[in-house]
Amino acid sequence: MKILIIIPAYNEADNIERVINNLTNNFPEYDYIIVNDGSTDETSKICKANGFNLLNLPLNLGLAGAFQTGVKLAYEKDYEVIVQLDGDGQHDPKFIDKMLKMMNNTDSDIIIGSRFKEEKMSLGIRMIGSAIIKKAIKITTGCSITDPTSGMRLFNRKMMREFAYNINFGPEPDTISYLIRCGYKINEIQVKMNERVAGNSYFNLKRAMQYMINMVVSIVFIQWFREKVDEKCQIL
């Protein structure tokens, strides 16, 4: 099975070398692509110096735009499965194998690497947002996604086509809730995530607030009115 790991990276100069070396040394069976999202630090230089597989965006598009670039590449190069991993080493590639098996066994379209499927959610300011989004998805779709904000996700080829070419298909919880409503199968698997070793998270308080408002309004209100993917396919 042809698998591509997509690693969106924004100012990850301190992490990217460690992350990719771990990937190429311990998991050479997977292809990977770094999507450098217009970083202002040395990320692109380091990738080029090491000969890493790199897509360099000349501008900052944001996570959704960067991820979509990777998905487009994967779709055009006929990959069957894509995995989204963070560039800061929080996600351990050893779980990809388990995710793949789960996808094949349960015939799922998306597998989310969840921190809280079997383990209790720790209380903290950062988790409040996640809990609110979880509740919003539960109320509107009836499905429990234990870790909707997890950045470790696996998508099959059917999903790739949608994510590659549609507007409003960011790799975010509101898209997940929309896809549940469209009848796609989404499953979760317990993973362990590492703490960020170096650098800062893209999220500051203002961004986090904005993100929360967007997600909650989008999940609770807007998703009801969106055209279902399958309906659209029939029209085409």
């Binding site: 000349p58 501008l59 549609n166 507007i167 409003n168 509101d174 408002i213 967007n214 309004v217 989008s218 209100f221 807007i222 009115f225 969106r226 055209e227």
Partner: protein
């Protein structure tokens, strides 16, 4: 606030929300860009259903009538939105410029390398 104004505001907020949702359905706008318009519609709806809110604020600010407060408030919010949009447009403009420059530079690099390869192959 007169009943006519209230009804007008209610109709306007429903039309705005309907319009935005239609645009989302047709995949013509990003969801995060509609949040502002939907929030404004809900606010106007609340003000027209409970006009006491507007009267309270107009008394507080020494404005003669509640409808004047609603007008002032809307002008203020729209000004803010226009201001934010100007910033956004300016940033977009800058982004397009750098994109075009980037493409031009890449093209030249590509052409130069192609010429180099062609000339070396001719020499052989």
């Amino acid at each position: 606030m007169s009943n006519t104004l209230r009804i007008l505001l209610i109709i306007a907020s429903f039309i705005t929300t309907y319009w935005m949702l239609r645009k989302i359905r047709k995949s013509q706008i990003k969801i995060e860009d509609t949040i502002f318009w939907i929030a404004i519609s809900i606010l106007l709806l609340i003000i027209s259903v409970f006009p006491n809110i507007a009267s309270f604020f107009s008394r507080l600010m020494g404005i003669q009538s509640a409808s004047n407060f609603v007008f002032l408030f809307m002008i203020f919010v729209l000004l803010l939105k226009v201001f934010m949009m100007s910033i956004k447009i300016s940033q977009l403009d800058h982004k397009i410029t750098s994109l075009v420059q980037e493409i031009a530079i890449r093209n030249k690099e590509f052409d130069d390398q192609l010429k180099k390869v062609l000339s070396t192959s001719e020499n052989h």
